[in-house]
Amino acid sequence: MSVVLNVQGLEKSFGAVVAAHNINVSIEAGETVGVIGANGAGKTTFVNMVTGYLEPSDGRIEFMGRDIRGRSVRQITRLGLCRSFQVPQVFLSESVFDNLMISFGIAERDGLGLLGALMRGDRGERVDQHLLRYQIADYRNVAASALPQGVRKLLDIAMATVRKPKLLMLDEPTSGISVEEKFGIMDILMQALKEEETTVLFIEHDMEIVERYVSRVLAFSQGEIICDAPTEQAMVDPLVQEFVIGKEYHRARAGNGSGNGASEGEAGRC
């Protein structure tokens, strides 16, 4: 398997606050990696640095074998490293269709034509296919400002994937989504990303989501990676339990687990 992202010795401090210290990560094609950690642990800072939004104080970032540190957001996006946001970043006054039309326009032309129309050829059909893949076609003509939060999240992610990125970073795809909706939305999302064979890294607070969809976990605490392991292993790691998951969750899990064979085994190892 080929290495998509390789980060070595990444550092970032804001004054006296260390947001990232000695971050070393390597992600291979086809992986689905979950990033966990308490608030302020440095998860979003990590994504911001890798995608070019923040300049690291030190370290090396290689994407597809190329050094991308110091490149701008749009250059990195064009190389195929895209992201979605914790708070969806969409064009609120445009319809869902136009939001994606604009994204497709940018992705497919890599520029700013002044003469040709944005909507031409079969681009409209590709937009509609994309809407179907993310199951938001019902909202095609609704303004993004009027969307339910879950749909807006899916739109945000759909916009991030029009380039068929080689690596997609999702910042808390289920935050702000109700408990009833979250698995439905994650199923739609993971199915769509699987179809496009996208390597995914996502930040997530919800351990149920992590356990269900992720094969490998990076646990952050105070700017450092305290655990990088397959999901089952990370969930029982003492450091992770101490700093990330917290005891509350596990007490609850252990209690529920007695009636549930699959998770009982894991809970037993805690």
Binding site: R74, Q89, F91, E94, I102, L112, G116, L118, A160
Partner: protein, 322 residues
């Protein structure tokens, strides 16, 4: 946003009116209409920028650039040929925007508005002080334009129709621009710059290119204005002129082509009538109108028209339903 489907019908009707009716109008109305044509072109530049949330209080910079490009050609070369001067004015506006735009593309909101103002006032100062070149406060006399050698005075039918043809070209260019990726990105940029960058386009490039278009339109408007009025003065670059462009954009409603057209026509007639009958109070009238627009219909006159039209056609459709 705008209802684009309402456009062809209203557009065709407006074009027909502007083509057919003028020969039956008295001369002074024709002159006011001609003034509205170049006003429209200048306001279109302001309006395109406003579409991306970019307010400028210095668009007279480009208007004066176009006007003085004509002034220098008349003064030194004795050239008054529109076929040559219109492209020259456009080019002068374009080059000025290409230079100033490098700085401007970095700024938004208040800073964008005021930096534009600063540049236009610098030009105003230069036009005022370099009197051996620009004629200072006296300005420059422009005289009568020629079109392919035929003389066209500023108040003639020929000149009106020439201006109208320019308006037609500008309308096509602006529609083309608004349907282009840059046009969409501009509107989207107002919503969310972060997403534009994370989609892979430089927001600055979007601003810069829009600015080039706006500057070019300003230059063309300046050329037409110079020959309509027959005389150019440093005040063409003054901030009050820029403010007038913004006023008209808000009056008509920015975002599309019909708003600025409606705004330009109403403004020119208002100004003519009001300054005739209320010479001391016409600015106050403008103020009151602006206040009413902002309070009750921020979309401008075009939005009022659309609302009326929707009500009428809504009733029609109600009757047509099977």
């Amino acid at each position: 946003m705008m209802n684009w489907r309402a456009l062809p019908r209203a557009g065709v009707a407006a074009a027909a009116l502007l083509i057919v009716v003028p020969p039956f109008l008295p001369g002074w109305i024709l002159f006011v209409l001609t003034k509205a044509m170049f006003m429209f072109i200048a306001v279109m530049g302001v309006s395109v920028l406003l579409r991306g949330g970019l307010l400028t209080f210095g668009h007279a910079l480009y208007y004066a650039t176009g006007a003085y490009a004509v002034g220098f050609c008349v003064k030194w070369l004795g050239v008054r040929e529109l076929i040559f001067l219109i492209p020259l004015g456009a080019l002068a506006g374009f080059i000025m925007a290409a230079l100033v735009g490098v700085v401007m593309a970095r700024y938004r909101e208040v800073f964008f508005a005021m930096l534009n103002l600063a540049f236009s006032m610098m030009l105003f100062g230069a036009l005022l002080k370099l009197y051996w070149v620009t004629g200072g406060t006296d300005g420059l006399a422009i005289g009568t334009a020629t079109l392919a050698g035929i003389r066209l005075t500023g108040d003639s039918f020929g000149y009106y129709y020439f201006s109208l043809a320019m308006v037609g070209i500008v309308t096509l260019v602006v529609y083309r621009f608004m349907a282009s990726p840059a046009g969409y990105f501009l509107r989207a940029m107002y919503d969310n710059e972060i997403r534009i960058e994370y989609s892979g386009v430089a927001v600055r490039q979007v601003v810069y290119r829009t600015y080039l278009l706006a500057g070019t339109l300003g230059g063309v408007a300046g050329v037409l204005a110079a020959f309509t009025i027959g005389h150019i003065v440093p005040e063409d670059a003054f901030w009050i002129q820029s403010g007038e462009f913004v006023f008209v954009a808000l009056l008509g409603g920015f975002g599309g082509v019909p708003g600025p057209m409606l705004g330009a026509l109403v403004f020119e007639f208002l100004q003519t009538y009001a300054s005739k009958y209320f010479p001391l109070a016409w600015q106050m009238m403008m103020g009151i109108i602006m206040l009413l627009i902002i309070l009750f219909q921020p979309g401008g006159l075009w939005a009022i028209y659309q609302r009326i039209e929707a009500r009428l056609t809504g009733k029609d459709r109600g009757g047509d339903h099977h």
